[in-house]
């Protein structure tokens, strides 16, 4: 497009220069009028001809290429952000469960794994490490089920096996 515009402007400018020169050099009277007419036609040709060769699809193609580049740029942080969110969710969920366990009088270590396959990473698996009585384990399992919607079969107790 720019190539076209450049050629077009240059063509018109050159035609105008030639016209000015021809007009300046020709003697007064008939020859000057003839030179003016010929120059006018030349100028008209320089203005109109390139417009007939205009290719409208070039701009659309360029826009598509720029959009693709921009979309690639926009996704540069997507993977990193998902990993960061997963880490934050796992850490905060584990801290929350540990705190709840402490309120139930349980001393344990909690590890949470979030599901990455979905749009937003949500807590999926909980591993509790510590010595818990049967009653304590039942209460904590219920609490986790209620707060995180993680069923008992995805809650692992390292000292007590699968609940």
């Amino acid at each position: 497009m720019v190539e076209f515009l450049g050629k077009w402007l240059m063509g018109v400018t050159c035609a105008a220069l030639i016209l000015a020169l021809a007009e300046g050099l020709s003697p007064e009277g008939g020859p000057k009028r003839a030179a003016r007419l010929a120059g006018g036609l030349l100028l008209l040709l320089a203005v109109v001809k390139p417009l007939l060769e205009l290719d409208g699809s070039a701009l659309t193609q360029a826009m598509t290429e720029y959009r693709l580049d921009a979309e690639i740029s926009a996704q540069a942080l997507e993977g990193e952000n998902k990993t960061l969110m997963k880490d934050i969710i796992e850490t905060q969920s584990a801290a929350y469960i540990q705190d709840k366990a402490a309120a139930l009088g349980i001393s344990c270590q909690v590890r949470v794994e979030a599901d990455e396959a979905v749009d937003y990473p949500v807590p999926k698996v909980v591993t509790v490490t510590g010595s818990l009585s049967r009653e304590q384990r039942r209460k904590l399992t219920e609490q986790i089920e209620a707060d995180f919607a993680i069923p008992a079969d995805r809650q692992y107790y390292e000292s007590g096996g699968v609940e």
Partner: protein
């Protein structure tokens, strides 16, 4: 009471976790964005900047002012020297006119005066146009790193549609403008100078009109590109903003439909990540603006002072001599104005894009 204390304890655990996370989030995002490459690219104009640690705006502006101050003396000396030479030429022309020369069929005084002014101005025009061109090249290569970084940060800050639209518009119009400048407008400026010199030497009114048309063409193309860019940016920004608002609404709805504790933690994590990206977007955007201003500073001073000096020289010349030489000096200052306009248009395009990115509110 015990219940409240327990709630407070949970809140403290979550908040402490969030504060710790914010710092590590910012570090991880900076690394993923590759900000070091951007710092290196802008180091020539904004040295000793650590984008990770944040940007001291006052110090950065002070740095720019120091650079301007350091260059000011040299720039003024160069411009005044050219002004003095031009005045000397006009004075000489005026004296020769006074002695009765230039009365023949060919105005020898105007011819020699035009050639002498051209000889003085040619060196200035060459170095100033080269300087403007160099600044545009620097801006082009810097924008290739700056725009993707700002787009990535803005997209992560919750406005992906707006970020894509902004980069698309800026890249498209910036490339269009730079190609136009290199292939069309600068050759037109040279043609404009040639037409002005030819008019001053020969006195053909057609040449004068042609020079005026060329100047008008360059100004119109620059103005048209900037108007089109701002219009496109505004319209595409409004459309993309609506899409982004819908995306944020959908995300909020998804989170609110989850179990309250999971939804709360998820929303907290999303806010931390968005806030980190928002900080980065603003830091990178402002750094970009400062570097663009830094790139343009010296060429702007040079072009601006030469433009003013030529204008003043032209005004003084008009009182000394009635020949076309005084008008030629004014026309050549117009060429400097055009180059200043081209450099300014490229800078303005990037600055508008950065301002739009920095002022865009993230979704949250």
């Amino acid at each position: 009471m015990m219940r409240r204390l327990a709630m407070l304890a949970v809140l403290l655990v979550v908040l402490t976790g969030t504060a710790w996370a914010s710092e590590s989030v910012l570090d991880a995002q900076s690394e993923a964005l590759g900000l070091e490459a951007l710092e290196d690219a802008g180091a020539e104009w904004m040295p000793d900047v650590d984008l990770n640690a944040g940007l001291d705006l006052d110090q950065s502006i002070g740095q720019l002012l120091d650079t301007g101050n350091a260059q000011l003396g040299g720039v003024l000396r160069k411009a005044l020297r050219s002004g003095a030479l031009l005045l000397a030429v006009v004075l000489f022309c005026s004296l020769t006119e006074g002695m009765g020369a230039g009365q023949g069929p060919v105005n020898a005084v105007a011819l020699v005066g035009a050639l002498a002014v051209t000889a003085v101005a040619a060196a200035d025009a060459n170095s100033l146009i080269g300087m403007g061109r160099e600044a545009i090249d620097h801006m082009e290569s810097f924008s290739k790193l700056l725009l993707p970084a700002v787009t990535a940060a803005a997209s992560a800050a919750g406005t992906p549609g707006g970020a894509v639209a902004r980069q698309l518009a800026t890249m498209l119009f910036s490339d269009l403008l730079i190609t136009l400048i290199n292939r069309v407008l600068l050759p037109l400026v040279y043609t404009y100078i040639a037409a002005c010199v030819a008019w001053a030497a020969v006195g053909n009114e057609g040449l004068k009109r042609m020079a005026a048309t060329l100047k008008w063409a360059v100004t119109t193309v620059l103005t048209a590109v900037l108007i089109l860019f701002v219009t496109y940016l505004t319209i595409s920004g409004v459309i993309a903003g609506t899409t982004d608002a819908l995306t944020v609404k959908a995300a909020k709805f998804t989170m609110s439909s989850m179990v309250p504790v999971v939804g709360g933690i998820l929303s907290d994590a999303a806010e931390t990540v968005l806030a980190g990206a928002g900080i980065l977007k603003n830091t990178v955007g402002i750094f970009g603006m400062l570097v663009v201003i830094g790139i343009c500073l010296v060429p702007f001073l040079q072009l601006g002072f030469h433009y003013l000096t030529y204008k003043v020289a032209s005004a003084l010349s008009a009182t000394l001599s009635g020949s076309r030489v005084a008008a030629l000096i004014d026309q050549i200052s117009g060429a400097f104005g055009l180059v200043l306009g081209m450099t300014g248009a490229c800078a303005l395009l990037l600055l508008i894009s950065m301002v739009a990115a920095v002022s865009a509110a993230g979704g949250g």
